[in-house]
């Protein structure tokens, strides 16, 4: 295994040996050098090193102002598709997808949720039926970020309705440009459309694009979802007064006439809660860095969802008559939730989604209660019933 010094030398050699202004070439070279994601295996953009050593690479490349792969635009690909392909894909699939995924030549999205399967993801109804060397897929998916410019979709579909829900699922990579894939914007209560819904009509998917065994879709999907949590947990330290509390503090400081004793007390409570949550996130980061991940990660989403909602609600109330105005109801496509380019009304409305998306707060409480505290699991009457016989 490489030492930290040897890794640093390798990064230096990459920087010295390439033209940093030629972005695509540089990214390919970085992938070939194993410096894309050092914890991945050699030959697939990595060096088989501990994940923590990636920081050495990132620091050196940032210092040299090397071009990056714009990771903010590749969230699903890097955070979810890559670990899934690495964990369950064939050698051929890894070679086919990982490089283009990492360099950003191909964008990925996730086709999991359905109108009839939100928290109960294993209940999905999109059907995949075998047809020679292919599968024919029909159904509806939704809450998909980036679907309108994605090249590939991580697709969970039902291949066997005659077995209980978890056992009849299979995982595919779907070509988003294939005939029968229709992507429509899904407009939210904020007025804009960050997400999409997809209508899949007899979409032909070659069996070579199946990831994992037939019927093993649930296990593969768990890899995808767990990776999502890891990538959230290991993010950078957040500065004080960043996030939702920032605009509320600015308004408080600038507009003396809006201040009341009751709002003052509320703001102090929210500030303190936000600051403690920030420290808890920092503590989690330190635990991960020390190689001792704790279960506290599942708390972070629950806390920030509530805080975002409470703080943005406070901000609307603090705004007085301006709290009754809204910046823009025009239907627009947007990439991700940009809380800070918009007004308090938008923040308030968008934050309502924080306790629903990526696992509702109720489901997260169940998870904490069962997996962390060891309390008895919820009753699951459909667990051993063939999917087709479950009332719905």
């Amino acid at each position: 295994m490489l030492t930290e010094q040897e890794l640093s030398d390798k990064v230096k050699a990459l920087i010295d040996g390439h033209d940093l202004t030629r972005r695509e070439e540089f990214l390919d070279a970085r992938f070939d050098a194993g410096l894309a994601w050092v914890h991945f295996p050699e030959g697939l953009g990595g060096l088989g090193l501990p994940r923590t050593m990636q920081a050495i690479v990132e620091q050196a490349l940032t210092a040299a102002r090397a071009p990056d792969n714009k990771p903010d635009q590749l969230v699903i690909g890097l955070g979810m598709a890559a670990p899934t392909i690495l964990g369950h894909g064939t050698e051929e699939q890894k070679q086919r997808w990982l490089r283009k995924l990492w360099t950003g030549r191909e964008v990925w999205c996730q086709l999991f949720s359905e109108p009839g399967a939100g928290s109960d993801l294993a209940a999905i109804a999109t059907r995949a039926v075998r047809d020679g060397d292919d599968w024919l897929v029909s159904g509806q998916k939704l809450w998909t970020s980036s679907a309108h410019h994605a090249d590939w979709g991580l697709l969970l579909a039902r291949t066997d309705p005659d077995v209980p829900k978890h056992a009849g699922l299979t995982y595919f990579a779907a070509d988003m440009h294939a005939p029968g894939v229709e992507v429509r914007p899904l407009r939210q209560l904020t007025g804009e459309a960050e997400f999409n819904e997809e209508f899949l009509t007899q979409v032909r998917i070659p069996d070579a694009q199946r990831i994992g065994a037939v019927g093993a879709g649930w296990t593969v999907a768990m890899t995808t979802l767990m990776s999502e949590r890891v990538s959230i947990g290991s993010s950078r330290a957040i500065p004080r007064d960043a996030g939702m509390i920032g605009p509320a503090l600015r308004t408080w400081r600038e507009k003396r006439e809006l201040r009341t004793p009751g709002l003052h007390d509320k703001l102090l409570r929210l500030w303190a809660d936000q600051e403690v949550a920030r420290l808890a996130a920092e503590r989690l980061r330190q635990q991960l860095a020390a190689g001792k991940p704790g279960p506290e990660g599942s708390a972070a989403k629950l806390v920030f969802a509530r805080l975002n909602q409470d703080i943005s609600g406070f901000e609307v109330e603090l705004s007085g008559a301006d709290g009754l105005r809204y910046d823009d109801w025009t239907m627009r496509r947007s990439e991700g939730a940009n809380f800070f380019g918009r007004g308090p009304g938008f923040r308030y409305l968008r934050a309502r989604g924080n306790s629903i998306e990526g696992g509702t707060s109720e489901v997260l409480r169940n998870i904490i209660a069962e997996r962390v505290l060891g309390l008895p699991p919820e009753q699951r009457p459909d667990k051993d019933v063939p999917w087709k016989d479950v009332p719905r």
Binding site: R259, R269, V276, L364, I368, P376
Partner: protein
Amino acid sequence: MNLLYDDAEQALAESLKALLNDRCSWDKVLARTESEQTCDTDLWHSIAADLGLAGLLIPEYAGGAGASSREAATAAEALGAAVAPVPFLGSAVVATVCLLACRGPERAGDQEADHLLRRMAAGELTAALAVPFVTAPGGAFPVSIRVAGPQQGDQAAGWSRLRGTITGVADALAAQTLLVPADGVPPALYAVDMSTARVTRTPVTSLDMTRQLCDITLDDAPGVKVASGQEAARALTAALSAGAVILAAEQLGIAEHCLDLTVRYVKERHQFARPVGSFQAVKHRLADLWVEVAQARAASRYAADCLATDSPDAAVAVALAKACCSEVAVHAAQECVQLHGGIGFTWEHQAHLYLKRAKADSLGFGTADAHRAALAKLVNIPAP
């Protein structure tokens, strides 16, 4: 900033927990609350002298362990989890930090403060700061005690005469020496030997009898000046800040114990032919409580670390930790009572010991509200 526990801190916590498991079961604590001597002086001697916790914050040259508020906080978590009736907070933290601040690094030597610290480190002497337990850091210098006229021989003995009453003092019933802030020109801090007949302690029937308060009357009691003016004011603030941070750690220990106890109970207790812990109404409350405890741990660790490293953010960290941990501990103890149902409302169950300690602690060294008011100034959230 380091928000984790290092190996030495974990080892300290383990040995303290082992001792408390052995010597401080909750039924013993409960029995003691109804006895003459509410402080467990034997247990305190073991903790103070044998484990060396009395000298945790005292430098090595004065016989202490030279440790920091990080270790003291770790110890306080274990003591809180056991509602241990010992004056660790009052003597090994508040009085100790007060004397250390009186001494000032440049004046270390043979003065009264050093003399007292050496005896405290050895576990021979227990001291208390004579302020009401509800005193928050950063307030005005107390004026309830004033300096009275001198008596014959005082000058030779180096004594001042102190007169007045201080109510609701914590951890003073087991103390032999009292550190008394007294009004005067300038105001000053005095060490008073409590064995004199001129000091009267009246035990208070306290909400929390595991840390029984007392009222103290000084009737021209002789005191030796240990600091005056700005130095005394700084010592008082340092002592109360350390008190608030270590109390926050104690609150974390209380909260964690209440959560563990309740989780264990709802797995065992059956109603409607199923464990009550299988009801979502119960599961979600406990999940929320676990989240709160995780948050409180971050706040508590940050404050302990800030004091240990003399961080410029220490004042914010102190107020944040005490505001957060006060509410979490009270909530945890209340949930403990509620989710135990009927048994949790009885005298014969441990829950009430934690409820009373948690509620009393939430007033100790400043309420959550008082600490949020302090934050308003520190982080520029001005009042209307």
